[in-house]
């Protein structure tokens, strides 16, 4: 009776150890397959710093390109005004891309595009 209990207990112990080894192997496999993204522990801080600048840079670059075109074509201030607002739109779009994890990829990323990328690629940023 006691012996039986004992062996039963050992059996349990063995199978749970085997389970644990299996689990550990699986989680390690996941880690090895996916290379670490070279993340810094303060990646959030890096992201925050980028958002504000993207907004301003869009307006500045748009305005500057418009100014150059105006000087070249003598259409002051047509292009500058137009590109100023389009630049603001570009800035907004860059921020949207940044915070939705689309990064700075030009062109819209449609959902079907996302789907055919391998899932590893989406998570790292």
């Amino acid at each position: 009776m006691i012996l039986g209990d004992n062996s039963n207990h050992r059996q349990d112990g063995n199978s749970s150890l085997a389970d644990r080894i299996k689990q550990a192997e699986q989680s390690a496999k996941g880690r090895i397959d996916k290379p670490p993204a070279g993340h810094m522990p303060v990646a959030g801080l890096a992201l925050a710093g980028r958002v504000a600048l993207e907004l301003v840079a869009g307006v500045v670059v748009g305005g500057f390109l418009g100014w150059m075109l105006d000087r070249w074509l003598g259409t002051t201030p047509g292009f500058m005004l137009g590109l100023f607002f389009l630049g603001a739109a570009a800035g907004m779009m860059n921020v949207w891309r940044l915070v939705t994890g689309r990064n700075m990829k030009a062109g819209y990323f449609e959902e079907h595009r996302d789907a055919d990328k391998d899932p590893d690629e989406k998570g790292n940023r």
């Binding site: 993204a37 070279g38 890096a46 600048l53 670059v61 990829k105």
Partner: protein, 247 residues
């Protein structure tokens, strides 16, 4: 009393002239050279033992290498391998320039927009050329958003082009502004400490406070120095990825 922005003055060390262009060796050039020499020395000396079980220095060098290697692998994929030497050099150069600038009496080259803009422009032009060589004229499909209504396409193309030209600007301004702001802030607090000491009496005791702030800020600046090197490098990887894999 020194102005807090006096630290950014460019001083000519050796006057040089090439075909009418002023190519003088300045304090900025000196610290760029120092960053190159020190980083080379560090990596060569640290890797000299090439031990299977790395020592402290070798461990640091290997960590730096692996950090950038993982970043390239994760953000660009295996096609990014040929560009790894450039990305690694870029990271080490910016990291060393930023860190050297934190040593008192030294000069921060990355606090000059010219330096950071040239770095960003090289990346921008290089990445564009890589895209053009790899994909030919198909590269320009980059600027045409997929699945947008036809009537909106002219506007969206202009927006995309602007957002492409924003890249070198935001890349260079980010590094330059972070360095400039941090170093100015340090000098402002240092100036406050000196002024309080000069005022004497109870004010001199109070000068301990800005001094404590400088210690804290120096730690923060070290974080910013490493972080900005990281941000600059990871954005380079992302731009490279965009050029290699068009949508």
């Amino acid at each position: 009393m020194h102005s807090p922005v006096e630290q950014f003055t460019i001083k000519t060390l050796f006057a040089l002239n090439l075909l009418g262009f002023d190519i003088s060796f300045t304090n900025s050039s000196l610290f760029m050279l120092l960053a190159v020499v020190l980083s080379t020395l560090f990596l060569v000396l640290a890797m000299r033992p090439a031990a299977l079980v790395p020592g402290r220095l070798q461990g640091a060098a290997e960590m730096m290498y692996e950090f950038v290697a993982d970043m390239v692998r994760a953000n660009v994929g295996s096609e990014g391998r040929p560009y790894f030497p450039f990305v690694f050099t870029l990271f080490v150069f910016i990291l060393f320039s930023n860190m050297l600038g934190l040593i008192p009496y030294s000069y921060t080259t990355t606090s000059q927009i010219v330096v950071t803009f040239v770095l960003a422009a090289v990346i921008f032009i290089g990445v564009t050329l890589i895209g053009l060589i790899k994909h030919g004229l198909h590269f320009f499909s980059f600027f045409v958003p997929s699945g947008a209504p036809k009537a909106l396409i002219p506007f969206l193309v202009v927006i995309e082009v602007i957002s492409y030209f924003v890249r070198p600007v935001s890349l260079s301004v980010r590094l330059f502004a972070n360095m400039l702001a941090g170093h100015t802030m340090l000098k402002v607090f240092a100036g406050l400490a000196v002024m309080l000491t000069g005022a004497g009496g109870i004010f001199a005791v109070g000068s301990v406070l800005p001094l404590a702030a400088i210690i804290g800020l120096t730690g923060l600046e070290m974080l910013v120095a490493a972080l900005q090197a990281y941000v600059f490098t990871i954005l380079t990887c992302m731009y490279l990825n965009d050029a290699l894999h068009l949508h």
